[in-house]
Amino acid sequence: MNSTTLRDPRPEDPRALSRLPDMREESVVQVRGLVKRYGDKTAVDGLDLDVRAGTVTAVLGPNGAGKTTTIETCEGYRRPDGGTVRVLGLDPVADAAALRPRIGVMLQSGGVYSGARAGEMLRHTAKLHAHPLDVDALIERLGLGSCGRTTYRRLSGGQQQRLALAMAVVGRPELVFLDEPTAGLDPQARRATWDLVRELRADGVTTVLTTHFMQEAEELADDVAIVDAGRIAVQGSPEELCRGGAENTLRFTGRPGLDLGSLLKALPDGTAAAETLPGTYRITGDVDPQLLATVTSWCAQNGVMPDGISVERHTLEDVFLELTGKELRP
């Protein structure tokens, strides 16, 4: 659990204001009851997923939960054993030829000739598209300038990841699928990737990404879908997920023996208050700005200076572990 001040985890990019609001309500990825089996193992078991246009959707889940299978079905690599998948209104398998120019794909690993130079491979990918981005600018943007002539097998893992990301966006797609885009990146490279995803979003590109990093989902995603055992355990904005289910905590210290009964009367139902140590108070429930204001004004009425006031909001990690369990996956 993370002790933080109340804040919006995703500062809005000012450029986002130019986006048409109604565009975001359209579903660009629509998965209904997806089933995918490999032999007798069911990788995806009745999964529903919606991705709204112009948003960033993070698909979270433990290893083997079915994230990659779901993404790769949307990309047209896998034929569903059950259910339907529509991407930009198209069937990813039957309409592959129409869909592929419109999407950008970053695989979890590989995808590049081991003897190809980074710049050469990106330039080649650009040539497969009608209106590609400026390759040199993109290389600079992702900090790959120093390795333009380095062959793929000699790039570091982080450089390989960034090249794959560049290849996914160079064709100016409407929708990009990024499978663990920041796995193995150092913090600077991770930030650079996040910035790029934010810029894509600001320019109206829809992004679907899978990740193990809760912070990544909190930082980037408009929507988070937590996948477990081949199904969506929960989907919603990070705020909704952190608020729903798990309770949040507010702590402060004051003089011992305060009458918590009068405080509780002022607070919504379902809120609990306790003096855990003499003079140390804990309030649990749906901690929102209104509740914080109620507590501080109650303190003011009672002449109490609430020292060390802190709010512990549930992080996505808490929600994630609550839903998927804490034991290690095979």
């Binding site: 450029r15 690599y77 592929r100 999407i103 590049v112 497969l128 209106h131 100016r172 600077q188």
Partner: protein, 262 residues
């Protein structure tokens, strides 16, 4: 002023503007890339350029193999041309494609606007470009060694194309079904066995009765057919052409059916 991270790109840079390039341009780009990959790879060059050139020079100038009547180079040049086709269309293509499959290159290209048929077209064109370079080099060396070719160039061309189709089918079949490491080992082994037992430098008659069976190998049909035309000035050797055509149909058919892209 900004030293570390690059400045954010201006608004609208990434605004969607999707679309596939014209298919001809995609094929040209893919062919150029595949050919560069092939020519940049040292192991591939050893197989496709250095070994055929060395064999041609060595056995033309040092009398270790009985190549029958006439100049050794007149016997060897057609065999080495057949070997060059096999090294590129079969061995080189199998190994390269096997590792492309292993490293997800084929998978990633599968999500690009490049259709599969266009990828295969580009691979074939890249093989043909390489073969043109090989034939030019080996012909130059052979002529310098005193080679005097005969026959109709069109017959030679047809045999080379049929041989390329036969070896490509077998190479892609291997690359698309075996693990990359297995393909690497098997493709090299087959190259070596066919080099020795396929009438490239050792005449098939040396193998006695087994020679009749070996004659049905694609490498034997190609080197024998090329030799009939280039050394003997014979008209189109339809028997050898038929053997190559059957291998091509079987190999390409099996590759189309069993090739796994991932």
């Amino acid at each position: 002023m900004n030293t570390g991270t690059p400045l954010p790109t201006s608004a609208g840079t990434y605004s969607p503007r999707p679309g596939a390039a014209p298919v001809g341009r995609m094929i040209a780009a893919q062919t150029a890339l595949e050919t560069r990959m092939l020519l940049r790879n040292g192991e591939q060059l050893l197989l496709t350029v250095i070994i055929p050139s060395l064999l041609l020079v060595l056995f033309s100038t040092v009398d270790v193999v009985d190549t029958g009547a006439g100049k050794p180079v007149d016997f060897l040049a057609p065999g080495v041309l057949a070997l060059a086709v096999m090294s590129t269309a079969f061995t080189g293509q199998a190994i390269a494609t096997g590792f492309e499959r292993r490293y997800g290159v084929l998978k990633r290209l599968g999500a690009s606007p490049l259709p599969r048929w266009a990828l295969l077209t580009a691979k074939t064109l890249s093989v043909l470009v390489t073969e043109v370079l090989q034939v030019a080099l080996l012909t130059t060396i052979a002529l310098a060694l005193g080679w005097s070719p005969h026959g109709n160039p069109l017959s030679v061309l047809l045999l080379l194309v049929l041989g390329t189709a036969a070896f490509s089918g077998l190479g892609l079949l291997m690359a698309g079904t075996l693990r990359a490491e297995a393909t690497l080992a098997a493709a090299n082994l087959v190259f070596l066995l066919l080099l020795v037992g396929g009438g490239v430098i050792v005449p098939l008659e040396k193998f006695g009765a087994a020679g009749d069976v070996l004659a049905l190998l694609p490498i034997a049909a190609l080197s024998d057919g090329l030799r009939d035309v280039l050394q003997g000035g014979a008209p189109m050797p339809w028997g050898d052409a038929l053997v190559l055509a059957v291998w091509a149909v079987l190999g390409l058919g099996a590759a189309a059916k069993f090739f796994r892209w991932e």
